[in-house]
């Protein structure tokens, strides 16, 4: 049973991607909790800026030739690319969701975790859609850069200081839906997985 479970976990996540992702995610989560002791504003800023990147980062790591020891064997296997990509995305999103909800509770702002989760879903969805053009690690890097640019832009607008206000949530949800539609429309392209090499 445990052997079967281990095999499935590896299929889902990519063998060596979990540890670096966990270190990165734990740094962001604990960082936001620690910063909260000094400043609630900067704690939220850390969480809002970096939290939404976590699922996409996990996906990028899990397809990295540097982190996945069996990367070439995975690519050369007949395992469906779309299924593997979505499995990995769901697992990293679920792990992020659990962490965000706990952190929201820990900070005494339960709604914050949920709002960051909506952004994380949107960022991940855009990352998945971008994976129909770029290899997942590049798609994750692209989407991270795009998200950071959006945050800088929104914060720079002054009166709209919170990128997760109701307008931000609506935009994030719409973006997620649009990206999912792009992914669905381009799923056949996605299974042309030579580019992962």
């Amino acid at each position: 049973m445990s052997r079967r479970l281990t095999s499935n976990v590896h299929v889902t996540l990519g063998a060596r991607a979990v540890l670096p992702w966990f270190v990165l995610a734990a740094t962001v989560w604990t960082g936001s909790l620690l910063v909260d002791r000094v400043s609630a504003f900067y704690s939220e800023l850390v969480l809002l800026t970096l939290g939404p990147l976590m699922p996409a980062a996990g996906l990028g790591f899990s397809y990295s030739p540097l982190l996945d020891a069996e990367y070439e064997l995975v690519v050369a296997s007949p395992y469906p690319t779309l299924r593997l990509l979505l499995l990995r995305a769901v697992v990293f999103l679920a792990a992020t969701a659990a962490a965000l909800l706990l952190i929201g509770e820990g900070l005494g702002r339960p709604g914050l975790g949920a709002r960051v989760l909506v952004c994380a879903t949107a960022v991940l969805a855009v990352g998945l859609a971008a994976s129909t053009i770029l290899a997942p690690p590049l798609a994750a890097a692209f989407v991270a850069a795009a998200w950071l640019a959006v945050v800088m832009l929104v914060l720079g607008m002054g009166e709209l200081r919170d990128p997760t206000d109701s307008t931000g949530m609506a935009v994030a949800a719409a973006t997620a839906v649009l990206a999912a539609a792009v992914l669905g429309g381009r799923r056949r392209v996605l299974s042309t997985d030579w580019r992962y090499s």
Partner: protein, 285 residues
């Protein structure tokens, strides 16, 4: 004889470096050795054959299917076994667990049949007794055989091995060659190697790559035949030779144009390889 591999004008680049320069090949079932200096394009060619890497241009037909077509490529992967040059193993896995993980990726859905197949391939490579041993505890030779075990899942029709005998001791190498000979009876087996002894021991055919080009493609006897009359021995290195090597007897074996009165001997695969590669480099210079 059925052509199982057909490559036409395949080109592969890494940035400005050309890894494969219009390589055309046709292979049939049996064992083909892939020889060439470091950076000649052997690994790139195997990666293209393994459908891991798409060529910049050219056509790749494997097992009668078009590798550029998505559905065909999945079908090819179902009938393919591959051992890359750098095969990493996940931490914490036993030999059995690792091969079972690969079996999951190869769509062995039924758990009972999958485990039976894993046991079969482990026994085939002589690792049945260490199935429950952690991969980290296995010797280098055992890990090589473990890599081969995962490639043998489902008895693939095409098997691609990138330097499979590297790091094996002579006894392990002999056992490994016997295994390759056995597997090569029913499959198209392509073995990239630096060991010319591997080619002599197991290959029906040899392809020599140099600077991304296939400079020879033919049966092993024909390859060796090209060096007939071009190999001589002497008690000291001969500066006029294209290449020389010291033998176990302490004498020197030379390839090139033998000087008058020299003791010409029958060539082997290594002589033919040294002659071909050094002659090509001589022309380039």
């Amino acid at each position: 004889m059925i052509r199982t591999v057909h490559l036409s004008e395949v080109v592969q680049h890494y940035g400005s470096a050309c890894a494969l320069d219009a390589v055309s090949l046709s292979l049939t079932p049996g064992v083909t050795g892939l020889l060439g200096p470091n950076g000649a394009g052997k690994t790139s060619l195997l990666r293209v054959l393994a459908t891991v890497q798409e060529p910049v241009s050219g056509t790749v037909s494997l097992l009668g299917l078009d590798a550029s077509d998505e559905r065909d490529r999945t079908s090819i992967r179902r009938r393919l076994g591959y051992v890359p040059q750098e095969l990493g193993f996940p931490r914490g896995f036993t030999a059995f667990g690792f091969v079972e993980y690969m079996a999951v990726l190869k769509e062995w859905v039924d758990a009972e049949r999958r485990r039976a197949e894993v046991r079969r391939v482990l026994a085939l490579v002589g690792l049945g007794s260490v199935a429950t041993t952690k991969v980290t505890k296995l010797s280098g030779g055992m890990r090589r055989r473990l890599g081969l075990a995962q490639a043998l899942l489902g008895s693939p029709e095409m098997l691609l091995l990138d330097e499979p005998t590297t790091g094996l001791d002579p006894e392990q190498r002999a056992a490994f060659r016997a295994l390759l000979l056995d597997v090569g009876r029913n499959a198209t087996l392509v073995v990239s190697t630096h060991q010319t002894e591997d080619v002599a021991a197991v290959c029906d055919r040899v392809v020599v790559l140099d600077d991304g080009k296939a400079v020879f493609d033919g049966p092993v006897p024909e390859f060796v035949g090209h060096a007939t009359g071009r190999v001589w021995v002497g008690d000291a290195p001969d500066g006029s030779a294209l290449a020389h090597r010291r033998t176990a007897s302490g004498r020197y074996r030379h390839v090139g144009s033998p000087p008058a009165g020299s003791e010409v001997i029958a060539p082997d695969v290594e002589d033919a390889y040294l002659l071909l590669v050094n002659a090509a480099q001589e022309v380039t210079r």
